[in-house]
């Protein structure tokens, strides 16, 4: 049983041991090699999951849209990703004549690298993590901003106005949605008292003196906002304005083809997967869970989150760009800010540890009570925000309609005259 639970840990220890003693490398070299192997493993995992995900997504979306989806290549079209891969490889790799080649060629690599870099801190099982940064969350967000650079490079390098416009749009979107993401991750950090993903998971794991409440129960609102902004960050539908064909062809990767395009594609999926991993770590308790071994748990949770992504993609229409920004700046950011402050207050007013209670005063409560209070506050904020937004929207619509009416009347008068 234990062997199954700690499978990954055992394997990694074995590999490390192998390199160090059996092959007898110098410590420096051993260190390098272990790192290299870990990196390779992670990357392979990401790439494979990318292949799998393309297939799954197409199937799921097809089902949602009452289609069959890929079904020719292999049984149930299982080999479809492979076929796509071959197609990608064999396609001609074109480069615009006026492109800034250096930048143009670097862009896909950069985006892929940044996408993969996220996996360095995601804990798959106790002790199985690329590196346990004590600022892991912060790191994830920071790395996310790296892909912005890559997109700008792509847009600029391919020297094509659609690409450039797409890049601008994307960057605006990514930068914008980083703000609510950060704000809501902060609430989790507040609750946990640490920025390390491991600590965050431990805070949600059942242990003596720790009920192991998933944060999504404590912080439903941050979970929701994080999900939304996560989708926006990965540029998936309904926020896939960066490749709104009808408006800007294919956005920043208009000019890319073949393997480079595949890299962008990979970047997108790997990012999405990373976001779902991070989400399940932050809000669903990561690898924490009964019976099943931890790596199964986190994979399940991530899969669940990713399914939500696909579900949304299959369901929702694409939002307009102004709506997208309005949603971010006028709704998510203010709401998250208010929520952040309230969460702080609640945590100070209803501490769960004696030390905090003595430090600040406030009334000592059990974790579950605190959870209920937090959830109540969150939902209250959400409700208020929604009502306000609805009212504003109604007023706006009325004004618009009046204007239209007036214009109609004017036109009629003009026609008469």
């Amino acid at each position: 049983m234990d062997a199954i639970t700690n499978l990954l840990k055992i394997i990694s220890d074995f590999v490390a041991e192998l390199i160090r003693s059996v092959l007898g490398f110098s410590p420096l070299l051993a260190e390098l090699v272990t790192m290299g192997i870990a990196a390779v493993v992670l990357i392979t995992f990401a790439a494979l999951s990318f292949m799998g995900l393309t297939y799954v997504e197409r199937k799921v979306v097809a089902r949602i849209q009452d289609r069959l989806g890929p079904n020719q290549a292999g049984p149930f079209g299982l080999l479809q990703p492979l076929a796509d891969g071959i197609k990608m490889f064999t396609k001609e790799d074109t480069t615009p004549a006026t492109a800034d080649r250096w930048v143009y060629n670097a862009a896909p690599l950069v985006i892929a690298v940044f996408a993969l870099a996220t996996y360095a801190v995601i804990p798959f099982a106790p002790g199985v993590v690329g590196t346990n940064l004590n600022v892991g969350v912060f790191y994830v967000l920071a790395i996310g901003s790296g892909s912005i650079v890559a997109i700008l490079m792509a847009g600029w390098g391919s020297n094509n106005k659609y690409a450039l416009l797409g890049a601008f749009r994307t960057v605006a979107q990514l930068i914008g949605y980083e703000v609510p993401m950060l704000l809501n991750v902060l609430t989790v950090v507040l609750v946990t008292g640490s920025m390390s993903l491991i600590d965050i998971i431990n805070h949600q794991t059942l242990a003596d003196g720790n009920p192991g409440i998933p944060h999504i129960l404590m912080l439903p609102l941050p979970a929701l906002v994080f999900l939304i902004s996560g989708i926006a960050e990965t540029g998936r539908s309904p926020f896939d304005l960066l490749e709104a064909e009808s408006e800007i062809v294919a956005g920043f990767h208009t000019e890319y083809s073949g393997m480079k395009f595949a890299l962008f594609f990979l970047g997108e999926y790997v990012n999405a997967l990373a976001v779902s991993f991070v989400f399940s770590t932050l809000f669903l308790g990561g690898y924490a869970g009964p019976i099943l071994p931890p790596y199964v748990w986190i994979l399940l949770k991530a899969a669940l989150v990713f399914f939500v992504f696909m579900w949304l993609r299959g369901t929702l229409p694409r939002v307009r760009i102004d709506q997208m920004h309005a949603l971010n700046w006028k709704f998510l950011v203010p709401m998250s800010t208010v929520n952040l402050v309230l969460v702080m207050l609640v945590l100070k007013l209803f501490p769960t540890s004696e030390s905090a209670a003595q430090a600040f005063g406030g009334l000592l409560v059990t974790p579950w009570v605190q959870t209920i209070i937090l959830a109540a506050v969150n939902l209250g904020v959400l409700f208020t925000a929604l009502t306000l937004a609805a009212r504003a929207a109604r007023r706006f619509r009325q004004a618009e309609e009046e204007m239209i009416m007036r214009r109609r009347a004017a036109n009629l008068a003009a026609a008469k005259a």
Partner: protein
């Protein structure tokens, strides 16, 4: 040769090289990209200094925000790129910068060297340097301690501690607010009508001033003296 040393040297080469590229290239966009590389290198240094927080902050702020801004402005000021990268004084500047680097190297570098001016006739008289002056190899008071586990928390507390950095912290916060407003105000796109109206208003004002400054027939006679002439300027 530890792994960290290897990493350090690689980072150093990357940082210095990309920095040199940044200040010499004529393609600003690439310059900006290399700037990002340099920033990354510095973040790496922070990691080597056992300060993950600032490494990540560096990535977040410098790469996530500042570089993006710079790239944007490079794109917005298009056509400003294919011009001569350096101005007339570049040569002298290069010499001055190199000199500065040399001085810093000698003053704070690892090698100790002794400057003895007591023999030199004029200088010794000028600067009263009876005994020799030792450069480099500064005897720092090393702490020889590990970074405490809680350094992030301590840092946070220090920032909100009235006796430490609360005041500067608040000031910086105000600064950021002001900058938000100011940047938006400065860079906002003004309608041509506005601009024209403003210019006209200014021109009108100036015309009035000129008209008013014509010497008046009964302007009370004042000695056209120092003060008067000062006033005219």
């Amino acid at each position: 040769m530890t792994l960290q040393q290897v990493i350090f040297i690689i980072l150093a080469i990357a940082v210095i090289g990309s920095a040199l590229f940044v200040v010499t290239t004529s393609n600003l966009f690439r310059g900006a990209l290399m700037l990002i590389v340099a920033f990354f290198g510095v973040a790496g240094f922070y990691v080597l200094l056992d300060n993950g927080l600032f490494a990540v902050a560096q990535v977040m702020i410098y790469i996530g925000a500042i570089s993006i801004l710079i790239i944007f402005s490079v794109m917005l000021t298009r056509g400003m790129q294919a011009m001569i990268p350096r101005n007339a004084q570049a040569g002298s500047v290069a010499i001055a910068a190199a000199l500065l680097f040399l001085i810093l190297l000698l003053a704070f570098g690892p090698f100790r060297l002794v400057v003895d001016l007591s023999g030199v006739p004029i200088l010794s008289a000028l600067f009263r340097t009876e005994s020799a002056r030792v450069l480099g190899g500064v005897p720092w008071q090393f702490a020889n301690r590990e970074v405490p586990e809680t350094y992030i928390a301590d840092f946070g507390r220090a920032l909100v501690d009235l006796n430490q950095f609360l005041l500067p912290f608040l000031l910086v916060a105000f600064l950021v607010d002001a900058v938000l407003a100011g940047a938006i105000y400065i860079a906002r796109q003004r309608k041509p009508a506005e601009v024209i109206a403003e210019r006209e208003a200014i021109a009108k004002e100036e015309a009035e001033e000129l008209a008013a400054l014509q010497p008046q027939p009964n302007a009370p006679t004042l000695p056209q003296g120092a003060i008067a002439s000062t006033a005219d300027h």
